[in-house]
Symmetry: C2
Subunit: 218 residues, 2 copies
Amino acid sequence: MTVSIEKTDTPEIYRDLHQRLITAGFTPGEKLKAEELRVTYGCSANTIRDVLLRLSTVGLVSFEEQRGFRAQETSPEKRHDVARFRILLEQEGASLSIRNGDIMWEAQLSAAHHKLSHIETTIAKNGELEAYLPLWSAAEWEFHDTLISACQSPLLRGTYRNIYDQFRQQMVAQERDFGSNYFHAIITEHQAILDAALDRDEERCRKAIHEHMKRNFI
Amino acid sequence: MTVSIEKTDTPEIYRDLHQRLITAGFTPGEKLKAEELRVTYGCSANTIRDVLLRLSTVGLVSFEEQRGFRAQETSPEKRHDVARFRILLEQEGASLSIRNGDIMWEAQLSAAHHKLSHIETTIAKNGELEAYLPLWSAAEWEFHDTLISACQSPLLRGTYRNIYDQFRQQMVAQERDFGSNYFHAIITEHQAILDAALDRDEERCRKAIHEHMKRNFI
DNA sequence: ATTCAATAAAATTTCAAGATTTTAAAAAAA
DNA sequence: TTTTTTTAAAATCTTGAAATTTTATTGAAT
């Protein structure tokens, strides 16, 4: 399923490959051949190499010297690791935000949740997942990122971004339910996180975050 | 101070630049010109680009599209951030290791500490820092890495590795004491971490880790 | 039949030069 | 003098091809 694309430059190639990697656009462990991708994107092999090197630094692509690049492998162990680490970072980020966040943070979090909740309710009702998936993806990210946005640690926030993407990559690979049951469940979970955060209750927020992610432990 | 080096291949160039970056081999924020380094290492500009891209993914080099590479900038804020994040990761890794580690872990940690302690005592006595620095660097890393090695989370351990390196980079840039006072202090601190870990006392270990790093908050 | 070695094919990595973009310097205008 | 525009220099990025390494295939030997 190699779709040919017209003259894209490096940042676009990066974005496109990034997107494909976190939406099951490649089979986990699939070899990413520079020559093949070169044709797809209409650029030189070196440009592809450039992009793949960057994607390997954020963990979406695995790289071995002289053996090229592969879409990151998935495994129960990896999913477990990614889920646990994401919980750790999000709990810590949320705690710090609860301590440091001002009214603006509350407002932004509220707004992000409102958007997310609206989309999730629509999906839960109508079930047209396909159509809403890109919208939902963006909104889900925005909510979680806003939650930790007042932590005052660029490193924590940046690391969380990488782990969140790896989480997505691992989880979409192992397709599960994703029916309307799933969306009903996460609506409640997101609400619990929001409530605890706005109540400035660190412990409850940590628990809510754990609840939200525990289905990914297997 | 550009020293010409004979025909080094990529992994070696990576190691060498990595080493220089975490030992104040470049002024923070200094431009890393591909052409200059190309001459130094006797390779093509593309090989240098390759290496710098990888170093930027681990945070030692900053990279801006079309504007090239720079040795990571330093600032009190960055140091603070890196120190806090390192504490978080090491505390969490140590806690998990205390819970999961077996006898082998205890033995390895003991051994790592023994080596480190021997080197630090020597430096505290003789004061010949220069001669022992590479030895001490390796031993310090081995101790801290072993401490978290039983955490059973490759992601946590890998992230810690990056942050530890960034910590080094930030701290050596801001040269402080490093006299025999300093080494007397950290001997005690490392001992406290070891004791708490072997006693399987998570809380005490967390405190000891915090104590060890708090001088870097400013 | 299975293992090992030799060969061929494919893929990755390196190279050097050309194209593009950014940065610095000089000249012109306000 | 300060700001803006123009020009020149420098650096980055891309390209296509050569060199190296890995992987797959074939044939020989145990």
